[in-house]
């Protein structure tokens, strides 16, 4: 049944596509839609993401179509916008993305991209009207467009490198710690002798995308990477490895062992690396121990976030940090098949006498659930700040939107992410007890 969603944290497909393009060095979006679409993205995503933009708030070129373009078609407006963008904004790749109105009208974007390429401009396109779904769909649509159309640009790629693995499923900005999380996963994979292809963020440009067919494995850390990995399996025969969620702490060892197994890497090297990482984390845990007990870290918590994050963070909080899950809310609206899998998975991973798992993207509903659960600790988005205040409990912002934190390279994935999470969460608990 149709129902209205209060304060959704999932913006639209167009925004997901803009987030993908904005996270690739040298890729410039050219938005073909009404003026509000770009502005909405700025207000609803960029502005809530202090430090999250790799290259500063990206220059989003937009055709800003008006009624006459709807009636007569906006093709010529887009042509003009594309040409001017290429002249004004420096880039290696221009990606046209469409909003709802231009898709309703049926402007012929593929023809426009072809026209651009015939003039030797590096132009591709993605059809990303908001009515095709939310930010997660946009992430997949834009990636699909890149995978399918980049080869047509026909640039020579250097000889394939050894041990390349791609990582999928972390949606830039929708995971506020996307850049740091990718880098940490990359660091770990490098540690067992691989060459991670992060595809998004610092140092990740068009060449990274051109080498993705060379990968030996596509690692998928959320349901939102499934489609991409399957596409690459069909297209290039690259096998895929899906892990349960964003690995935080000990879960990273599972990922490394699985990858190592699958690619028949040097097991001894893998184990040594895991050992050194675990030792480091356990030393941190030991250093924290007195404070942990003194300040009573061991509490019931509420965790609100995307599926991969809820899985990863709750496993760490429960499995290593000894906290007890009370209210878990998954907000990224995963498909039905994934919901069942997530419920089963979480039942096995996290234990609590009173644990409840919900799927919701409705701010009002989430607030009620968290309030009624009355956990002693809340981890969520800026939208949960008020309910945490109302409960009078410590609160840490870890999911989108993170409004009042600067996030540059901070990560909550892997071993470093586990330690950072410990620092941040512990600081909130201490700050709260000294209040």
């Amino acid at each position: 049944m149709a129902h209205h969603i209060d304060g959704s944290r999932n913006s639209c497909a167009l925004h997901g596509a803009l987030q993908v393009i904005g996270a690739i060095e040298g890729a410039i979006p050219v938005l073909h839609s009404t003026a509000g679409c770009g502005a909405q993205h700025f207000l609803g995503v960029n502005r809530l993401d202090a430090g999250g933009e790799t290259f500063g708030a990206p220059p989003v070129s937009s055709s800003n179509i008006s009624e006459k373009h709807v009636v007569f078609g906006g093709g010529s407006r887009l042509r003009e916008q594309l040409k001017n963008t290429i002249k004004v904004v420096e880039g290696e790749l221009y990606v046209m993305v469409t909003g709802c109105s231009t898709e309703m009208v049926g402007d012929d974007i593929p023809a426009m991209a072809k026209e651009g390429r015939e003039q030797d401009f590096p132009v591709i396109y993605a059809n990303t009207p908001g009515f095709r779904g939310d930010v997660h769909q946009g992430y997949q649509l834009a990636i699909k467009a890149l995978i399918e159309q980049l080869p047509a640009l026909g640039k020579a790629v250097e000889a394939p490198s050894k041990g390349v693995v791609n990582i999928w499923g972390i949606v830039p900005h929708q995971d506020p710690f996307w850049s740091g999380n990718l880098e940490e996963l990359g660091r770990l994979l490098k540690g067992i002798g691989l060459e991670p292809n992060l595809l998004f963020g610092y140092g990740q440009g068009v060449p990274s995308w051109q080498k993705l067919p060379d990968a030996h494995l596509n690692i998928v850390v959320s349901v939102w990477g499934d489609g991409t990995a399957k596409l690459l399996e069909e297209r290039y025969g690259t096998p895929l490895l899906a892990v349960e969620g964003l690995p935080v702490g000990a879960a990273a060892a599972r990922l490394l062992r699985a990858v190592s197994d699958r690619l028949a890497l040097d097991q001894q090297r893998t184990e040594l690396f895991i050992q050194s990482e675990e030792k480091r984390l356990h030393t941190s845990l030991g250093a924290l121990a007195d404070t942990y007990y003194r300040a009573g870290f061991q509490r019931e918590f509420a965790l609100i976030g995307e599926s991969a994050q809820v899985v990863g963070v709750s496993e760490f909080l429960t499995g290593t940090l000894g906290l007890v899950p009370r209210t878990l809310v998954i907000t990224d609206n995963p498909p039905e098949y994934a919901r069942e899998a997530l419920s089963t998975l979480l039942k096995g991973l996290v234990h609590g006498d009173r644990t409840e798992l919900y799927f919701s993207e409705d701010h009002a509903e989430i607030t009620d659930l968290v309030f009624l659960g009355a956990a002693e600790l809340v981890l969520g988005s800026a939208l949960e700040k008020s309910v945490a205040l109302e409960l009078g409990v410590p609160f840490l912002q870890i999911s989108f939107p993170v409004a009042d934190r600067v996030v540059l390279n901070r990560c909550y994935a892997g071993y470093r992410g586990a330690a950072t999470l410990l620092e941040d969460l512990g600081s909130e608990i201490l700050a709260h007890s000294y209040r």
Binding site: E67, K68, H69, V70, V71, F72, G73, G74, G75, M104, V105, G106
Partner: protein, 291 residues
């Protein structure tokens, strides 16, 4: 919108069915009877009013809107036969843009320009592409535009199909203040079964036929001269048919919410008529048969 000036009538029908010819002749007949009439063509082909204005050029509302930011009524209208004010909404070239939104934008502009308050018409006729392919083409029958809609149909199944679709649209909009159906205009009546077929369709859908326009060479000839029958051959029988239609529209205000047939019903109905027509052609005679 301020108080509505005149009676607003929308005339729908499948493309090529003779809808513009019928509408123009009704406009001409109403003008001949002394009324102030506006005819608005709501079809991207923008040839609704051609025979009212001797085939002269008329910039469409949308073309004008595209070229200039400020549009005046004079820029987008022409005075045709009997003083009928002719307007063409226009639209994009085929295959580009959104013609439906174009209709919407054009009708909106006419309201903004206070056309009806200024011109004070007795009748406004909207001649609309009748396949009602999307919401834009239903604009004239939404609340606040036309009061009544008429559908022009021949006995061809596809024309009936289009009429049935219009009934669906009326059925949707009428309860919330949209136009109701004035009736069915049967056009190009030639085959012996045509009248019965259209009558039967009207009965099945809870409507009635308000006029039968026979297929006529007079119409074709007049069109070639860029004129309506009323103007070209005013004394003809065909001209009288249109005058009767115009009088009906003027004097009779009855309207209904039609009951469109659903897909299987329509299919069944069509098959039944297929069999009957075959029997007529083959000379099979049934008792009590009304054909």
């Amino acid at each position: 919108m301020s108080e509505k000036q005149g009676k607003h009538i929308a005339i729908y029908g499948k493309g090529g069915i003779g809808k513009s010819t019928t509408t123009s002749n009704i406009s001409a007949a109403l003008a001949e009877a002394g009324y102030r009439v506006i005819q608005v063509g709501c079809d991207p082909k923008s040839d609704s009013t051609t025979i009212l204005r001797g085939g002269n050029d008329l910039p469409t509302v949308l073309d004008t809107l595209r070229e200039q930011s400020k549009v005046k009524i004079e820029d987008i209208s022409a005075i045709g036969f009997g003083g009928v004010l002719c307007i063409e909404a226009g639209g994009p070239v085929p295959g580009v843009g959104c013609a439906g939104r174009g209709i919407n934008a054009a009708v909106e502009l006419l309201q903004e320009l206070k056309l009806f308050e200024e011109y004070k018409p007795d009748f406004v006729l909207y001649d609309v592409l009748g396949d009602v392919v999307c919401g834009g083409f239903a604009v004239p029958i939404r609340d606040g535009i036309a009061d009544r809609a008429f559908v022009v149909t021949s006995s061809d199944f596809m024309a009936i199909f289009a009429a049935n679709n219009l009934f669906k649209a009326i059925n949707k909009y009428a309860p919330s203040g949209g136009a109701r159906l004035g009736g069915v205009i049967a056009n190009s009546i030639q085959a012996p079964y045509a009248k019965s077929l259209i009558d039967d369709f009207a009965t099945k859908t809870g409507t009635s036929v308000v006029g039968y326009v026979p297929r006529s060479f007079t119409v074709a000839q007049s069109e070639l001269y860029g004129k309506t029958v009323i103007e070209a051959v005013p004394a003809s029988e065909q001209a009288q048919v249109y005058r009767d239609l115009a009088r009906f529209i003027d004097e009779n205000e009855d309207s209904v919410i039609p009951k469109p047939l659903n897909a299987p019903e329509l299919k069944k109905w069509a098959r039944l008529w297929g069999d009957r027509i075959f029997e007529v052609e083959a000379g099979v005679v049934h008792d009590m048969e009304s054909i």
